[in-house]
């Protein structure tokens, strides 16, 4: 589906975490994002949607976003948006509770 070039990572997370089949996973993610299921594999549509929701963007020569959420930061937002635990996010919280 293009991974994080589009929304493949989000649909994959629903398959992995909730054991959803493809149709259900796409509908779930599209519902959370307020877009169509076709948008999920469209890198042009998803660039805007990912930016709006802070879900991380690819950093390329002509497009870097140091002031936007990326990688671990983006995964915090993905976890909240999709209402699923993300292991690395939970570990991050667990290991930084003193601050």
């Amino acid at each position: 589906m293009g991974g994080m070039r589009a929304a493949g990572d989000l649909v994959a997370r629903m398959q992995m975490t909730r054991r959803m089949r493809l149709k259900e996973a796409k509908e779930y993610v599209a519902g959370k994002l307020g877009c169509t299921t076709r948008d999920l594999s469209d890198p042009v549509a998803m660039e805007i949607i990912r930016q709006d929701h802070g879900l991380g963007l690819l950093t390329m020569t002509s497009s870097t976003h140091p002031a936007l959420p990326g990688m671990m930061e983006a995964k915090f937002n993905i976890s909240k948006l999709l209402d699923i635990p993300i292991n690395s996010v939970e570990r991050f919280k667990e290991r930084t509770t003193g601050y």
């Binding site: 589906m1 293009g2 991974g3 994080m4 070039r5 589009a6 493949g8 990572d9 649909v11 994959a12 997370r13 398959q15 992995m16 975490t17 054991r19 959803m20 089949r21 493809l22 996973a25 299921t37 076709r38 594999s41 469209d42 879900l55 991380g56 690819l58 950093t59 390329m60 990326g70 990688m71 671990m72 983006a74 995964k75 993905i78 699923i84 635990p85 993300i86 292991n87 690395s88 570990r91």
Partner: protein
């Protein structure tokens, strides 16, 4: 005279066949699979659809826009360009895959166990640098526990000597060790932040190998309800190296994809990966019809995602080092459009 169309053999060689010859191969492939697995042959509509996909000279083909599926991986990267985490980043950034997989060259849970802290550190770094879900993968690889590689008497030596009970006992003992090792490695990777665990080429050593994966899967699911667990198979058929092992009261030996799926689902896996091996002496058309016929009964009843193994030597893709895109893209399109699979 009927025009010839360039197409592939199961070993990857480029040959020319007429549309009628491709049609005949599709029909033979589905009939052979149906007879072997005692399942239905593909319908005429499905065979016609396959013929449209395979009787084409196009360099590349694809599903319609919006019909894309999730791409998981058993192994990601070459291990020879940069480091492994850079491989994962390249796959995320440049290739657009959905679930990259951290792995080591000795692709076996037993081998990983001795190096688990370093593997966990690589997973931790990968988790910090990637946005996509990253799973850790290796083979159950039960044979590693038998002599001379492991401590258990070698059942492949005991069986020809007629020592059936000893061979069975050896496999059961090895199975217990393997379950412990899968849990050991998985626990460490999950501590390091892994999103999922992949048991790849499951059943390669037969029914005890499959039993170990199912047992470990259920234990992991009980510990980690959110965990992605992918069980990818080694073959369309579970070999009965033991012959009497059961899971949830079902005999594992001789299981075809539909029964494999039922076991994998009952064990709590997130994703089932059926595998159908290639016959290198037959055309890719023959092989795809055979593979789809084997997997169709599973895809029809699945309640969890099905990611068909579509790559070097399995799932209609030729057995060769650099699978040509004409063959990989045709196989992918065929599985998605006919079986409505969830990924590959």
């Amino acid at each position: 005279m009927e025009p010839k169309i360039p197409t592939r053999m199961g070993d990857g060689s480029l040959v020319e066949m007429t549309r009628s010859e491709i049609k005949a191969d599709l029909e033979e492939g589905t009939q052979i699979a149906a007879k072997k697995a005692k399942v239905d042959v593909l319908t005429q509509d499905e065979l016609d659809h396959l013929l449209d996909i395979y009787a084409s000279a196009a360099r590349f083909t694809a599903v319609d826009i919006g019909e894309e599926v999730v791409l998981s991986n058993d192994g990601t990267g070459t291990k020879h360009i940069g480091n492994r985490v850079q491989d994962l980043q390249s796959y995320e950034t440049l290739l657009g895959i959905d679930i990259p997989e951290l792995w080591q060259a000795d692709y076996s849970y037993k081998a990983v166990k001795t190096n688990v802290a370093h593997e966990g550190q690589s997973m931790k770094i990968a988790q910090a640098l990637l946005t996509n879900p990253v799973q850790y993968g290796a083979m159950p690889d039960l044979g590693r526990y038998s002599k001379p590689d492991g401590p258990i008497p070698n059942w492949s030596e005991l069986l020809p000597m007629g020592k059936i009970d000893e061979a069975r006992d050896a496999q059961v003992e090895a199975c217990g060790m393997l379950v412990e090792d899968i849990n050991f490695v998985a626990d460490a990777m999950i501590e390091a932040g892994a999103d999922g665990i992949d048991m790849d080429t499951t059943g390669a050593a037969g029914d005890a190998d499959f039993l170990a994966a199912l047992t470990a899967c259920r234990q992991l699911r009980e510990k980690y309800p959110w965990l992605g667990i992918e069980i990818g198979m080694a073959s369309e058929f579970v070999l009965g190296m033991h012959g009497q092992l059961e899971y949830d009261g079902e005999r594992l030996a001789g299981m075809w994809p539909k029964k494999q799926l039922e076991m994998v689902t009952a064990a709590g896996a997130s994703i089932y990966g059926p595998a159908v091996n290639i016959n290198t002496g037959k055309s890719t058309a023959w092989n795809i019809a055979r593979a789809i016929t084997f997997i169709k009964p599973a895809a029809e009843v699945a309640t969890i995602p099905v990611h068909v193994n579509v790559g070097m030597g399995v799932g209609g893709v030729p057995t060769c080092l650099f699978p040509p895109a004409d063959a990989t893209s045709r196989a992918s399109k065929a599985f998605v459009e006919i079986l409505k699979i969830d990924g590959y």
